[in-house]
């Protein structure tokens, strides 16, 4: 147990959770068949809004994070109107451009501190540990240090957010909105002919994705002490997209599993030192060669369901 609650493992688990939330954000935009590469941009808007609010304006963290998400979401609606007229690769390029524009703006603004980034952001962990000590919690509590307890609590909050998001997505899929998303994904023209307001639903998916990306950005800013424009560059977008590509984008669990694997992998491969990125790359290539639809697809679920169903009889 002590082994499991090591600060190192807890920290990795925290990053896994944040990345899983980002995975949900890309899943939502992909659920209407839109390939948007703007997630890092939205994440950056969320992170900076949130960090500026807490560091410079003294907002409490629990207020600043949702505000960051909403800011990202508003931005997505503004750029969504013109951008979502595009489809496929053209949309990808447009949203990719958007992400770069955000990065360059952040780089040149005074309030974001340009290339120097914002440092000294209060982390959720330190906030919680301060709160715990003010409640009179002793240095050691049930064999855990204050640091461990607070990281555990942070992890718990993140798990709750993720569980809520998964629940939301699963329910969404069974709703009118979810069916509309699926119809648009399958065939946009046919969906339009059936009377679905495709612009509305596409924009909705886009804005929801941006909201979640913004919240994830705010969370990550309050977990890493420091944000700089480099953190939200093009490579971050690709990383987020990889979660969906590796895990599969049919079901919400796909990108979550993708995020889990791709966040754990570099740490698991630490012993391979200089070769670890090579292995990482090789695994991705192998994946694409053998399972282009991603690890988890609807068939996988059906297959395991039938298999387990037979086993229990």
């Amino acid at each position: 147990m002590d082994m499991l609650l090591n600060q190192y493992y807890l920290q990795i688990a925290v990053f896994v959770m944040v990345n899983a939330i980002l995975g949900v954000s890309i899943y939502l935009t992909l659920s209407t068949g839109q390939l948007s590469l703007g997630n890092a941009g939205f994440m950056s808007i969320g992170a900076y809004t949130c960090a500026i609010l807490t560091v410079k304006a003294g907002f409490p963290v629990y207020l600043a994070i949702p505000i960051g998400g909403i800011a990202a979401s508003l931005m997505s609606i503004i750029i969504g109107f013109p951008a979502l007229r595009l489809t496929g690769i053209y949309l990808a390029i447009a949203t990719l451009g958007f992400g770069e524009v955000v990065r360059v703006i952040v780089l040149n603004l005074k309030i974001t501190n340009g290339a120097l980034g914002i440092s000294g952001i209060p982390t959720l962990g330190t906030k919680i540990s301060k709160m715990l000590s003010s409640f009179g919690l002793p240095q050691k509590f049930g064999g855990l240090s204050v640091q461990q307890t607070s990281t555990l609590l942070v992890l718990l909050i993140l798990v709750l957010i993720l569980v809520f998001l998964v629940f939301f997505c699963v329910r969404l899929n069974r709703s009118r909105v979810g069916r509309a998303f699926a119809a648009i994904k399958a065939d946009e023209s046919a969906a339009e002919a059936m009377g679905i307001n495709t612009t509305y639903y596409k924009l909705l998916a886009f804005a929801l994705g941006a909201l979640i990306a913004g919240i994830a950005g705010g969370l990550s800013a309050h977990l890493t002490f420091f944000i700089g424009p480099k953190d939200f560059a093009y490579h971050r977008t690709v990383e987020i997209l990889l979660y969906a590509v590796l895990g599969g984008s049919d079901l919400v669990f796909g990108p979550i599993v993708g995020a889990l694997i791709l966040t754990l992998l570099p740490e698991l491969l630490r012993s391979a030192s200089n070769y670890r990125l090579m292995i990482y790359g090789a695994l991705l290539v192998t994946m694409m060669a053998f399972r282009p639809q991603g690890l988890i697809s609807e068939e996988t679920v059906r297959f395991w369901k039938s298999k387990l169903g037979r086993g229990s009889k």
Binding site: L107, A115, S119, P229, P266, L269, A272, N274
Partner: protein, 407 residues
């Protein structure tokens, strides 16, 4: 290995355009698994061989474990490699002297802050190191420093020059001369030598470190009453500077100050000499690289930089370090990253010796904080009360393709 590969091809061929049955999918999964397994095994084997710490320390009592977070793979791997080389050389010497035994545990940060955080957590909580050297970049330090500080583990940056790093906490140190201490020395020396009245300033505005250097240049110039007649910006990886330099040439400054990495600095110098700007150029640490001379050629003459590391110094310790480094690493001349890493490990060694412990992090921290009159290859060294280094830089000027001291 070849067998497995062949079978992959066969399966793929069988399946072209054919409906995939469950059974075939199953076989495919196994083949994939085997390939991955084989890959992992072979590569992990290679990696282990390259970085296994010297195990012969154990015989001479318990070795102090010091973790290193360095930029070992990716775009800035050259920095991380130089740091590793400097550290390895220092470790061998220290262990041979026998006063303290040190074991180094390397972790790669890829120049990314989340990786740096994970690396710091791993070193502190899994490897139980007594102290940390690194990370390489200031941005990484802003993320990893607070982690070490919270856990009460001393952490020392050897190349983190941005302002505000030791302010992260009582356990955060650096032996890298920060820009705000080094740059003013170069600027002031240039002002007094060349009697500068009006200068132009250029900097790369998308590089955190270059912006910080620019701010220092600006404040030093203001303090000395020198007029800034133009401030021009560019971005990292730019290749064309004619617009900025043409404007500067028309204003006829007494000198040009540039804050950027060496690639950009070299191109700026080349272009400037080409369009006839012959005045001295004063640079931040980016100028302090042999690469600058390699790229800019004769155009680099007249470039001025302040550096804590000067290989031409007539100092016994410096010359011995260069000779040993050359002997160990294929005749390579150590750069300042290697030199500062080398000194950092000696700082740790002397603190460990003084603290008389190989595991007590608090004692080690206190011992580091009181270091005074330490003589390293980068000169005389001490920590001030804010854990900032107190050291002198040498102001260098490039003459005939060589760094020489500006007197």
């Amino acid at each position: 290995m070849t067998n497995i590969n062949l079978s992959i091809i066969k399966h793929k061929h069988n399946k072209d355009g054919v409906f995939v049955t469950m059974k075939k999918g199953f076989i495919k999964k196994w083949v994939t698994g085997l390939t991955i397994g084989a890959l992992l095994l072979t590569t992990a084997g290679c990696g282990g061989g390259g970085t296994a710490p010297a195990a012969n320390n154990d015989s001479k009592g318990e070795a102090a474990k010091i973790g290193v977070i360095a930029y070992l793979t990716g775009g800035g791997a050259a920095y991380g490699t130089a740091i590793k080389e400097g550290l390895d050389l220092a470790k061998d010497e220290i262990n041979a002297q026998g006063k303290v035994q040190i074991e180094l545990i390397y972790t790669d940060s890829r120049g990314e802050k989340t990786e740096a955080i994970n690396a710091a957590n791993k070193l502190i909580n899994k490897d139980n190191v007594v102290g940390i050297i690194g990370p390489t970049l200031s941005g990484e330090m802003f993320a990893a420093g607070p982690i070490a500080n919270q856990a009460g583990v001393p952490i020392m940056g050897t190349s983190t020059t941005a302002e505000g790093i030791p302010a992260l906490g009582d356990f955060v140190f650096r032996n890298a001369l920060p820009e705000f201490l080094a740059v003013p020395q170069a600027v002031e020396k240039a002002i007094s030598t060349y009697d500068l009245k009006k200068v132009a300033v250029m900097y790369s505005n998308n590089n955190d470190w270059a912006v910080s250097g620019y701010k220092t240049i600006e404040s030093t110039l203001k303090k000395n009453g020198v007029e800034i007649i133009a401030t021009e910006t560019f971005a990292d990886k730019d290749t064309d500077y004619s617009a900025q330099l043409t404007k500067i040439a028309s204003l006829k400054p007494d000198a040009v100050m540039v804050s950027s990495l060496y690639q950009e600095a070299a191109l700026v110098l080349k272009k400037a000499r080409e369009i006839g700007i012959t005045v001295p150029f004063v640079g931040t640490n980016g100028f302090n690289s042999p690469e600058l001379i390699k790229i800019a050629g004769p155009a680099a003459d007249g470039a001025i930089v302040a550096s804590p590391w000067f290989p031409g110094k007539a100092d016994e310790k410096v010359q011995k370090f260069i000779a040993d480094y050359k002997a160990k690493y294929n005749n390579k001349v150590p750069d300042q990253f290697a030199a500062q890493a080398y000194d950092a490990l000696y700082l740790y060694a002397s603190a460990l010796e003084q603290a008389g412990t190989t595991t007590d992090r608090q004692k080690l921290r206190d011992a580091i904080a009181t270091i005074k009159d330490f003589q390293g290859v980068t000169g005389k060294f001490a920590f001030d009360e804010n854990r900032e280094p107190v050291m002198n830089a040498t102001v260098l000027i490039i003459k005939d393709g060589q760094f020489t001291e500006l007197k």
